[in-house]
């Protein structure tokens, strides 16, 4: 398919979601305020238990706020396909011959743009109000964001593949999100886990979100450059992780859609 057609398709899916989103004006306001109030309450908590986090050469409040920003960016994208499995339109959308990957990426594009846009005011609050100190390496940051997007799109594919079959909760993504809350280092450094389980900080890298938290913190708080061999190795590890995760997740999505087509339940809810 021509790249221009793929671009039209992705932007059409994003525009659709934008039109629907802006038609719920009150909900838009309340959800934006909710994000900001959530951030502020966590930041206040972080401020009162402030310690240094040597792993990223930063303070705990900076570590925590960055963790919350990453959560606010990545989790809504990973879980964003749920509302796109609309029984009224899914069959018609698939009848258009739209590719599975284009469907996933296009259906997540608005979510990505929206969450990225909401990060800006949150970041400003973090910088101005709570004195978060950033030390950004832009090359690392771009690579971190790209790897993070591959991971969250992969997780969204699992979500699609499972939900299109079960028509209810997706236990896989649910388990991954619960695990990231406990062991991905969103609220506390991974080393804290070693107190309870030996080598837990290494095992935690099995969870996809751990890579996202670690890479983005390295590139925004510690100013880590990929010219440093240790950092380059970390990025290579993340890329290898993606190279395994992406085809598995694509396979699960493909299986789910084929299974729904076999069962005749594609348009069911």
């Amino acid at each position: 398919m021509k790249p221009r057609v793929v671009y039209y398709q992705i932007s059409a899916l994003a525009k659709r979601d934008f039109h629907i989103w802006q038609s719920y004006r009150t909900q838009v306001t309340t959800s934006l305020l909710g994000i900001i109030f959530g951030l502020v309450s966590w930041a206040v908590l972080g401020h009162y238990s402030n310690q240094s986090v040597p792993e990223y050469d930063t303070t705990y409040v900076s570590f925590l706020i960055m963790g919350i920003l990453i959560y606010n960016f990545s989790v809504p994208i990973a879980t964003g396909l749920q509302s796109k499995l609309n029984p009224a339109t899914l069959e018609t959308v698939f009848m258009s011959g739209l590719g599975r990957v284009v469907f996933v990426v296009g259906s997540l594009t608005f979510n990505m743009l929206f969450t990225a846009a909401t990060i800006i005011p949150q970041l400003l609050i973090a910088l101005v109000w709570f004195g978060v100190k950033l030390d950004v390496d832009y090359v690392s940051l771009i690579l971190s964001v790209l790897i993070s997007l591959v991971i969250v799109v992969s997780l969204a594919m699992i979500d699609l593949g499972v939900k299109v079959v079960t028509k209810q909760a997706d236990p896989i993504l649910w388990a991954i999100i619960i695990a990231q809350g406990i062991a991905s280092g969103m609220l506390y450094p991974l080393q804290a886990l070693n107190t309870y389980v030996p080598n837990a900080s290494t095992i935690a890298f099995v969870i996809p979100f751990t890579w996202i938290y670690h890479l983005i913190r390295l590139s925004t708080l510690a100013g880590a450059s990929i010219t440093d061999p240790t950092i380059a190795l970390t990025f290579l590890g993340a890329a290898a992780y993606c190279a395994v995760l992406l085809p598995i997740c694509y396979g699960i999505m493909k299986w789910g859609i084929s299974r729904a087509k076999k069962d005749g339940t594609l348009g069911w809810y």
Binding site: Y8, A12, R16, T89, E91, T166, K261, G267
Partner: protein, 343 residues
Amino acid sequence: MDYAIEVKDVVKRYPFARTSAQGGRNIFKAVLGLGRSEKVALNGATFHVEKGETFGLLGPNGAGKTTMIKILSTLLTFEQGKVMVNGIDVLRDPGRVVQNLQTVLTGTVGFEWRLTAKQSLHFYAALYGLEREEAEKRIESLIDAMNLRGYENQMYQRFSSGLGRRLLLARALLMDAPILLFDEPTANLDPVSAVRFRKVIKDLSVKRGKTVLLATHNMYEAQELCDHIAIVDKGRIIANGTPTEVRRLTGGKVKIEMGVLLPEGLTEEVFVRQLEVVPMVSNVTVRPSNDRKLRVAVEGETDVDINALLKTILTNGVVVRTLETSYPTLEDAFVTLTTRASQ
């Protein structure tokens, strides 16, 4: 011969999951496909649709019509058989199949409730890969052609069923595909909207040369629109042909009812005997009205020679005051065939 649609020995079984008392399913069983039995939806269905014709797939509820439409639309896979659309295998190359056909599914599904009609059409135009300018041109012309002007900026949730169907058709025509599939095209429409919608479907075939396949249990609609029909029951095609051919399959009789005035000297018995010897007449019943007036009901084969019948009547000086003929309808044939199949 190159058919627009060719369906050969198709078997489709649906897994039939046992649910809990609350109607829910165990999520792990759903993923692993456990605890399921199967229900046969299509059981060796075979038919073909020629290019440019309007073909009706008739059958009672649950006969397999929607399953067939969904298989053709690449929304369903099947276990056995072969389905080709314009010579393209639907299982092997679904991407090319959907470029050759468009489907209007039953009801008013297919649109986001909070998008306007125009936003929805632009959305689908982009999914079909239409260039922006071309899409804009087609959407404007379809809004006029489908009588949607004035409603194009209204949210879909405000649309009536009739408007919704017209918007569905506009969506289906965006791509200008050569084959159009309709599942119960006039279901839930009021009589006036239904008549208008049927006219649009007829024009698509007659004026624009589209191949149309419609799944319906509306016999009038099938008789009115279709060049060929197939009756499907319990997943099998039990009759196939033109509407007239299918009507004749059941051996239905033509009924000719007349009000006549007998001349002096011609008795009722003699008149009846003369009618009974007319070729293909199988039964004659007479009900006296008053004086020499009679109500006569003649039953015969569907190709009874009405001219010969009238000639016999008129040469005897009988005056025909009223005459009414009724042929077996498609509905009669449908009921007979499906009842026979279920026995």
